[in-house]
């Protein structure tokens, strides 16, 4: 393969992960464990970093081992590989950032069952060479992260009047009645629905204007 086509392939993987085949609003995978942490931006950032690391590394590992893994036990092997990376994150957080580990609670461990990790290793890592698998995993996770960050920023600003713990000028003043509902569970559902609606409509509109799909 010439370097030129190789570059195009990577470009395509990146665009797919970030936009066309975005894990949240197109594939609708992996919203389970991470909706709960979007009430604070800082928690979300840590969670997203953990997720990017897990998806990229496990995709890479699965891809490296793909020729040695028997077909019928592959789910088990994938799960164990994912669990290995998640345990690294979990123990790392416990050792160096105990407060954060406490905040995130069980949700770090739940990355194991986050469907997006399994989905990417199964859909791409299992059948493709390592470099592509790494890019695919990393950019799917980034596509996932940017949607979550939007949700987290809106939720924290409207619900608590802060951003990363700092007071925002208008939202923390007495003129803004804090929307407590935004930091409660229903707020997460509503925000995710809104964001999905917005991006999906944008995709439909872009598609109908004859932009190449």
């Amino acid at each position: 393969m010439s370097p030129r086509t190789k570059q195009n392939r990577s470009m395509k993987l990146i665009q797919d992960g970030l936009w066309r085949n975005n894990p949240i609003f197109v594939q609708v995978l992996g919203i389970c464990s991470t909706l709960a942490v979007t009430n604070l931006v800082l928690n979300t950032v840590v969670m997203c970093v953990a997720l990017v690391w897990t998806v990229a590394m496990s995709s890479l590992t699965v891809s490296l081992l793909r020729n040695y893994t028997p077909r019928n036990v592959r789910m088990m092997v994938e799960t164990l590989i994912i669990a290995f990376y998640v345990i690294l994150v979990d123990q790392g957080l416990k050792a160096y950032w105990p407060e954060m580990s406490e905040n995130l609670g069980a949700y770090v461990g739940l990355i194991i069952t986050n469907c997006i990790v399994m989905g990417r290793t199964e859909a791409y890592g299992m059948n493709n060479p390592p470099a592509g698998a790494f890019i695919d995993g990393a950019f799917n996770a980034l596509g996932y992260s940017f949607v979550l960050l939007i949700i987290a920023i809106v939720r924290e600003a409207l619900g608590m009047g802060t951003l990363l713990g700092y007071q925002l000028p208008f939202f923390s003043s007495q003129y803004w009645d804090k929307w407590i509902i935004m930091v409660m569970p229903p707020g997460a559902f509503f925000m995710l629905a809104m964001v999905t609606w917005m991006f999906k409509s944008m995709q439909i509109r872009l598609g109908s204007q004859g932009v190449k799909k």
């Binding site: 919203i31 389970c32 464990s33 909706l35 789910m75 799960t79 069980a106 461990g109 069952t113 999905t196």
Partner: protein
């Protein structure tokens, strides 16, 4: 050690609160993926709900025993993620084989959902929460039963609503998961109304 009666009462309270005020799905977002995928038909939702409840109670109890009687004495607590997921996967596989062998009828209704359950975060989530909150064995029975029933209730209600949605006009961008999330949000609001139930 507290008395059995006190623990049973606590188990009951935890069970009710896991169904209503702290529903696994609507306030902890666990099991969202299969919730969105399978909640199109009431019948399928019924089957999946039953399967999840059964697997949740069994694996939570298994995991409780393994954690406190094997991992803690050996000082291997950090291994719990791997052990739990193996226990869940193995249990699901085992149940699938048993059902297939002895009850083809049950297999027809539950069988197709069993593989989905291994990656259902609600099961692993319930196991992790039970450790974080340090429930005793008896309380864990109540907690896992309540969590399962709560998940069942939520997916069943959702499926009922979504069947009606099939005939309504929804904006193109909101179709599918979008509208389901909006409804889930409203259901979560409704469930917040139960908050006062256990105040006393």
């Amino acid at each position: 050690m507290e008395g059995i009666a006190a623990q049973s009462w606590q188990a009951f309270v935890v069970c009710i609160s896991a169904v209503f005020t702290q529903n696994v799905l609507l306030s902890y977002f666990l099991g969202m993926c299969s919730f969105l995928a399978v909640s199109r038909q009431v019948k399928a939702a019924m089957g999946l709900g039953a399967a999840v409840t059964f697997v949740m109670v069994s694996t939570c109890l298994l995991n409780w025993i393994i954690y406190y009687h094997v991992l803690v004495p050996m000082g291997l607590e950090y291994f719990r993620l791997i052990i739990f997921i193996i226990v869940i996967a193995a249990f699901v596989q085992f149940v699938e084989m048993v059902i297939e062998r002895y009850s083809p009828v049950l297999y027809q209704t539950l069988g197709i959902f069993l593989p989905l359950i291994t990656v259902n975060c609600a099961i692993l989530g319930a196991g992790l929460f039970m450790l974080i909150r340090q429930y005793s064995f008896i309380v864990t029975i109540g907690y896992s039963l309540g969590s399962g029933l709560g998940w069942w209730l939520a997916i069943l209600a959702m499926a009922g609503i979504r069947q009606k949605l099939a005939v309504s006009r929804i904006p193109a961008g909101l179709q599918g998961p979008g509208i389901a999330l909006l409804i889930a949000g409203m259901m979560a609001l409704g469930f917040i109304g139960f908050t006062g139930v256990l105040a006393g």
